[in-house]
Symmetry: D2
Subunit: 360 residues, 4 copies
């Protein structure tokens, strides 16, 4: 065992000036977030947050988890008469409709692809119900916090749009991404044809007791030039951290991303003209600082780890066991991860916007 | 102009307990790093750091920058009689052999692919000599600091090995990566055949006044399970930030990385047996915490932005100009970026190792 | 007005590894704290926290606020089956029995000695009900968090004891401070005679519509040597910050404190012998690091700012007004501030204990 | 021994946005500071810093240390053509004229009142030459960094003035403190009569092989209202930390300070009128936020611990020894600590000024 008595943890906050701290386990009484650094005087009521949170709701489509999460968010502090006061905004979402019984069977088993094994190695103890702190449910708190970040960046003209770029091997290529087209798709994919194919793929995976991975692209429009700090807190570095910190994400790329490995300098460099850049391989970020172009980010999402198919694993005593995971699970983190990506990017932008404003 | 008087910046530190702060510009008097949180009682002398730093030395091969950086590191504090005392270790590398004259021609020009444009937008002022703070030269300070991080993690059995996985479209696939094979290659590529092909590609690019991109893979061996903090400070999140914070990096992936997008859950999940995991698509990290397997990371490196080929750009007044960048430049950040990647990973590991040790 | 739209704030967290974030306003739905970094495996249930919180309860004595705060704390995350899991512990205390109506009269008035004026200048908006975020009520969240800190430090043999050293000019001098004697006093003063005199003084102040200041002394017993970080994060520096951050505190001193100004070196230095130090003018801290002796700290508490006596002030429009503050107010922050001081000291000790444990 | 192998440390930085990190030991090659977050475009050259640093120079008066510290500061990064660029400013002061031989005699002895004992307990190793990291010499780096902070706050109209309020029991009371009167006094005491008496006291202490304590008062003029963050990062809390973090300081008080303990609310509250506050018992800070009045702070300084008088102590093996400390030592930290206090306050103000500017 690595831990002596048990190891502490302090990695639940993100941001320097606009700071978000989340707390809560999947099957505890509630989850929540504390948002610090939100400027005073911004109009914000629970309904503003609820609308954003509802985009993450499960059960929206056939392929997602039938667990009926109500996810009603409450604001417990930091606003007064509908406006922010500059003090920390405490958000809470009660965990209703939880059924922990399903987890009794697997409480001594390390599910493959999950944090069961690593949490146990780290802490020597774990809340096995629904993944505990490692549950995707924790991201609801991020989405709620991200809604507040959105209120900070939108007056500056910034808009964050994420969509499903690939699912189960079906990849789309779109010239113009619109919020409307994304909203019209159960897959949050602006291509209607691909949407249908993705749904079919998902249904097929569900029937075979399996799950699917995919790619989400996030576009930031209207970002002013000059955001991001050189060296370690580069804009792309902070975006990479924020997005890689989502459970299912295994890769992050900016602009041309891994494609740059096969480009030459004359191909990769974006020429500059008096009317703007001629291309955007940089993805809107040069030397860690925004150029004023769209910021383009893609993240690779692994397939949901909970599958019905039989898998080899061990129990906490080290004995080999076979496990088939029942219960209410999505078949892909897409599309529910899409608003989570938007939230994380919004939080990073709000923080860097405030950092950039610290001028004399 | 975005800035009023000029904007402040505080993003030069990385790490919570093992903390590295770098400072310095390419053509100033010196660059350096302050390393805080290094435990007391570790044997360390200048030569230990110099050896690591020498791996980053230019001029090692035909294709790299002919600027003769001596890069002699000095320890100014934090050690006594050859041992660390627990106090901050100040490292300094003087900038010798600098020729700023070459930059007078381009001081009013925003070089494509460089931070010239964004620094100007952010600060309203910039040290145009050699890229100033955005110069790759800053990474020498990281490598020096990383050498100290190496001293912290190696007694725990950890080893960080990075190598050139791809350059200019030549990709290698190796079963067993050894330090010796990497050291034997001018390209830091363990495959001798590929090394030759890469060198030819580089020479060809140089002749055509162009540059090349590539991929570096970093492997961490011997990492104990349990490192990394859930939620925002996940091990993979912190690694992604540390690596994306290197100037040339446009993408970071862990384990199967972007490949997971096309996998099913039954393919992606790594089965667990009493004798260990049967595969390593997770890249040694589950739910942000290390599993005890090798940590596998790949980063995409863009081609060097400074090319002799004529490019379109503008000057600080917004007028269109054409620029051909002369001077002493590498043709690819590979192989010199390889030890930088090792350094950044070592720093993250040292920090998380100390965080994990904070037990009662 | 200083603020443009309204200014952000991020100062609600304290600690590096053991980190406490509080949120909430006096008359909002609830107040609370998120405690990060608490090691896993510690036995803790709501009742453990409630007991500590009850020591801060008003209405315990005649002179304290008749507002009946129930202050029932709930744990919303971070424990499982009665043990900490290493994940953030979210604590919530609902605001019951609030009567905001009393504040309608003074909503446009800056009460002397309160944060009304400064919050307005900072944010341009404020929650005027009961002091909002600046209310002493916020300290209930600190006391709850401090109860958890106590669970972290007590297994190491540390005990934090605070008591009333002075109130309204009555100063005690005690050789041996015991928890029992403190608990036996309504004033949290281990001297029974002084307790009576203090109560009389308080009653007299109440009748004249006035309030009283005092001094709290905090003693830490059983602290191991070696805690505290040199230079800026010295143990005494962090204690000073934590205690000066309590609303009513205007001074902090360690050991001989301000008395050192009139001492010579031969008087102030504590001689060391094989069996220990011969005196403790240093208050248990040398060069910012604990010596192993008792840590001795005293804080000066200003009189409660809300008094019935008529005072001069202005309203938000700058007009002169006279104000007499009615409502349910204490006459002194003593004794209710005593457990708050204990909490803040416990939090600092827990953090430095964990920082000290980060060894290899 | 508390430490296992040796304990790490990360407490060498102060500030969130305007961040200062110091490094260096008394008898190492150099000491220095890295200043992050200084806005771009500020005129600053070495001479600006040197002038401030010279105020801390020893040997200015008979009673201070005859060690001739040259303390020539160099700027190694962060400025270009005489202006700040927004990148970290690295400052270095070489340690010249060091004579470590004098310390060989006491290398195994824990000097009373010094950090020798506690550093050894913390780290298991220490640089015994001249106090190492715990030496007052480290404060030269703070003064240099403070000079830059001064450049950030002075355009906003802020001025920080510190002076000797008491030394060896001689206390002054001045109505109007002027920089000129302070500069005219070898004691940095604006009262000429008291200056003479203090000098006599110092000379007397020197002859008897002893040392003296005193009080420094710091006044901030022209501070705008609204600086400081509620709850933990209150302006007074951060000032208390910054000042208590100076080695010799054992107490910090704001405004009426410990005097509030004997005041009533009607005495302590500062009435507000349309033309301003009628008194300043709050010391310019209400609820942790500046009021716009002068900020008034006093710190208690202990006598220099190094005295010629024979003292009891032990060696590293626990044996009792007697020690008489020879060498070049001041008799009081006053007046050399005065500019150090100004520096620490300036750093805190610069940080909070930038934090306050982070608006949208």
């Amino acid at each position: 065992m690595y831990a002596k008595k048990g190891v502490s943890m302090s990695g639940n906050s993100i941001g320097v000036l606009f700071k978000v701290t989340t707390w809560g386990e999947s099957h505890g009484p509630a989850i929540g977030a504390v948002v610090e650094g939100c400027p005073a005087g911004i109009d914000i009521v629970e309904d503003d947050i609820q609308k954003v949170l509802d985009r993450r709701k499960p059960g929206m489509i056939a392929s997602s988890s039938p667990r009926k999460e109500e996810d009603a968010v409450r604001i417990l502090s930091g606003t007064f008469l509908g406006k922010t006061t500059g003090t920390p905004i405490s958000l809470i979402i009660e965990n209703k409709n939880v059924d922990s019984g399903a987890y009794e069977d697997i409480k001594d088993i390390f599910r493959p692809g999950h944090g069961d094994f690593t949490y146990f190695k780290k802490y020597g103890i774990r809340d096995y119900r629904g993944g505990g702190r490692a549950s995707a449910r924790e991201t609801a708190a991020r989405v709620a916090a991200g809604a507040i970040a959105g209120k900070v960046i939108s007056p500056e003209g910034m808009e964050v749009v994420a969509y499903t770029k690939a699912l189960g091997g079906i990849v789309i290529s779109c010239d113009r991404i619109s919020r409307e087209d994304i909203a019209a798709s159960h897959m949050m994919c602006p291509d209607p044809e691909a949407t249908g194919a993705m749904e079919a793929k998902l249904e097929e995976a569900r029937r075979s007791g399996d799950s699917l991975g995919g790619i989400v692209e996030i576009i930031v429009r209207g970002c002013p030039p000059g955001l991001g700090e050189p060296v370690f807190d580069k804009m792309d570095a902070d975006l990479a951290k924020a997005l890689m910190g989502i459970g299912a994400v295994k890769g992050v790329e900016i602009g041309a991303g891994f494609g740059v490995a096969e480009m030459t300098g004359s191909q990769a460099n974006d020429p500059i003209t008096p009317t703007g850049f001629l291309s955007n391989h940089a993805g809107g970020i040069l030397a860690g600082i925004t150029t004023g172009q769209d910021i383009i980010i893609r993240v690779a999402c692994k397939p949901i780890a909970s599958i019905a198919k039989v898998q080899k694993t061990i129990d906490v005593h080290g004995n080999p066991v076979e496990v088939s995971i029942k219960g209410r699970h999505d078949v892909a983190v897409i599309p529910r991860i899409v608003p989570v990506c938007e939230a994380m990017v919004s939080i990073v932008l709000a923080d860097h916007l405030l950092r950039q404003k610290a001028i004399i």
